[in-house]
Symmetry: C2
Subunit: 426 residues, 2 copies
């Protein structure tokens, strides 16, 4: 059971050390042009780390010091594992220590790899600040995100930032992965929302590259909404060829309140609509509708939440423009969500409201396990990291038989909106 | 939101009335040759009923007084809804008021319809007794099962017996359904574990009949195991024909402990093995293995629990013998499980043990929503009753990132068994 505990412990304590860090750390610093401030938090995350020093449930994914098993490939430079004992590793870090995400000469793989880390860093930093502010108000010790690095045996690396049982969030995960490897026909099918002719033929051998950041935040307070975000980039390359046969962006963000506050829904949608409109005024209406359709739970006849945007298979026109769009979406999340949390994280609530939130969490689980393409994709990906896939699930959830809110109640008001999605901004 | 509350309230309060009852009640009485004792429980289930008088979440499935929308068909007599205002309904009841499950002249549909109610009645009665015993020991009011009848618009009826937040069980559901209707190609595919040539052709129009009882019991105490049971009978009939093109039995029972007590696993398996051996000594080893394979969670590399038996597509030989086998399996459940509960329901436990139980509940949810064929079958069945499908989910569940039990712990001991199923009886 206690596999590789030492390795994991090391990867987490490094979070709070002043020693020059891993490739991840270097990238993260570069990305925001600010150091990972240790928040003078030597012992802060100890309680939380108690969960995380228990090693991963799959031995294939634990951090390895000498990743000799990784096949050398054209993707490796974009997904190099942390390797503190290797001087060549440090050389790579130095090379990566510039923010190349806006350099159009840099391959898109590398730009996306940089961007997803930059986004992760920005989100984690702002949520940590929120937690510190909350802890100060409550007069308790803050519980900050804990970092957990992993290597995918089949090719790729990841950095998970997870917080459990904090003062603001019951569970929060901001996960980056940059993976590559052989792509089976089934995998290719699952990767795309819509089938496209000519992307692959049965005789060919394909490799895929995927860089993405996904995030789910489940607050404690039933007045505060759950938020989800995912921005990703895929390439499909035929063996022996350099140019991808397909390359596309996907992503989106959406809000799942247990209680409806119109101003929160409007805030969330307003910020992302402004980003969309800067790029193409058709984006927001199209992607807002796609979001409502995607996050629909057919067996409950309701959407998961009040929506946001969702898009996939984005590959039209100049990819520099698409990248810029995706980047601005991702980096705007903090403005979409943090102001909402500032007014909700400590709002008064009753035991009944908490119970209702738990029932809504149950719905969240139903959507993610039964319908979510990201989860399905994860479950069919060879060597996928199950802990990352399941990280989106709430810490706690509840199912009651035949529960239905009383007519005219706040709970019933939410359901009405979920049954008939509304336009929040025009 | 508050649809048909009166109807539901009536169907529940009838549970405790002395008025001559519905068709269900008549069948239930007949089946056990004992009356539904009211346990002098006029107000007993009030707290629990608070959940249940909230009407169903799908208006299509609420109990209807005048089920005129039901198509008359050859199946209707086996799945007649409760209809208190109809004298013809009473006539049907009178006709059904004999236990015909062992009459080989009676059509199998009717025998199974009787049997599933008989089994439901026996289980509910014994679990109510357990609850009353527990409540007496604790000096509190018992919370007994509440009955909830429903009509399937497309054809069929059901009787759900559900208990939430009792003294022994956190959530317990014993559900009977007898349904029929048009069978789509997709439905036929989902109905069977293995494809069989010649069962249906694309040009034909088919109807299905299904009678089953399914049960999931989630106790409060982490020392006490969750139990699941399902016995069912299907017929597929080509339109215009009388004899089914296919008819088969399926079912099984399995145990899901949070903590392993070998004597419990042995007890559960011993009883069902004895039943199997009476019919065919090849049954137990074959169905025990099938159970371990079926209740496997690939992404966790572990089984859901310590198994039991599982079988499907049972159609060989004389169906009277198959029926007898299924009937004896179902009726033996009380002997499999109640003795275990008697020694575990009130065993001491810590908060840590409760937390571990909640994590195991999370695994239960993962299996049921991602892999369970019963759930998938339900989700693709037109007009399926979602509250019955989701009734198998625990009241509460938990997911922690990277949780793994400490080496040598009781929790780790359970995982070892789930990773490598054991032979409990030989």
């Amino acid at each position: 059971m206690k596999r590789l505990a030492v390795t994991h412990l090391r990867s987490q304590t490094r979070r709070f050390s002043t020693k020059p860090g891993s490739e991840w750390e270097t990238w993260a610093k570069t990305a925001t042009q600010a150091s990972w401030s240790p928040y003078a938090a030597g012992g802060v995350a100890v309680a939380l780390a108690a969960y995380l020093i228990l090693p991963g449930s799959s031995k294939d994914h634990a951090v390895k010091h000498t990743p000799k098993s990784l096949a050398e490939s054209q993707f490796d430079k974009f997904a190099k594992p942390f390797n503190p004992s290797s001087s060549s590793g440090l050389a790579t870090e130095a090379k990566a220590a510039t923010d190349n995400s806006n350099d159009i000469e840099t391959p898109m793989r590398e730009r996306m790899s940089t961007f997803v880390r930059k986004m992760q860093n920005k989100i984690v930093e702002n949520l940590d600040k929120l937690e510190m502010q909350a802890a100060q108000e409550l007069g308790v010790t803050p519980k900050l995100f804990v970092r957990d690095e992993w290597v995918r045996k089949e090719g790729g690396v990841g950095l998970s930032c997870v917080l459990q049982e904090g003062n603001v969030f019951e569970k929060a995960g901001v996960l980056v992965s940059v993976v590559h490897g052989p792509a089976s026909a089934n995998l290719i099918k699952q990767m795309r929302a819509r089938k496209k002719e000519g992307v692959s033929d049965e005789s060919g051998v394909y490799h895929m590259f995927a860089a993405g950041c996904s995030m789910v935040l489940h607050p404690h307070n039933p007045n505060a909404p759950t938020a989800h975000l995912n921005y990703r980039y895929f390439e499909l390359v035929k063996e022996g060829e350099e140019k991808p046969v397909a390359a596309w962006f996907g992503g989106g963000c959406d809000l799942t309140p247990s209680y409806l506050f119109e101003e929160d829904a409007v805030q969330f949608h307003r910020v992302i609509k402004d980003v969309c409109d800067k790029h193409d005024t058709e984006y927001y209406p199209k992607f807002k509708k796609w979001c409502d359709e995607y996050f629909y739970i057919p067996h409950r006849h309701e959407t998961r939440g009040v929506g946001g945007i969702f898009f996939d298979d984005l590959e039209h026109g100049d990819h520099n423009n698409l990248f810029k769009f995706v980047e601005e979406c991702g980096l705007s999340f903090v403005d979409q969500y943090v102001p909402i949390m500032q007014r909700r994280w400590n709002a008064p609530f009753s035991a009944e409201m908490k119970r209702w939130q738990q029932l809504r969490r149950g719905r969240y689980v139903e959507f993610n396990l039964v319908y979510d393409r990201g989860t399905k994709f994860g479950l069919v990906t060879p060597g996928a990291r199950i802990e990352s896939i399941m990280c989106s699930l709430p810490l706690t959830a509840r199912w009651e038989y035949m529960h239905e809110p009383a007519e005219g109640s706040k709970e019933a008001e939410l359901i009405k909106v979920l049954q008939k999605p509304r336009e929040w901004v025009v």
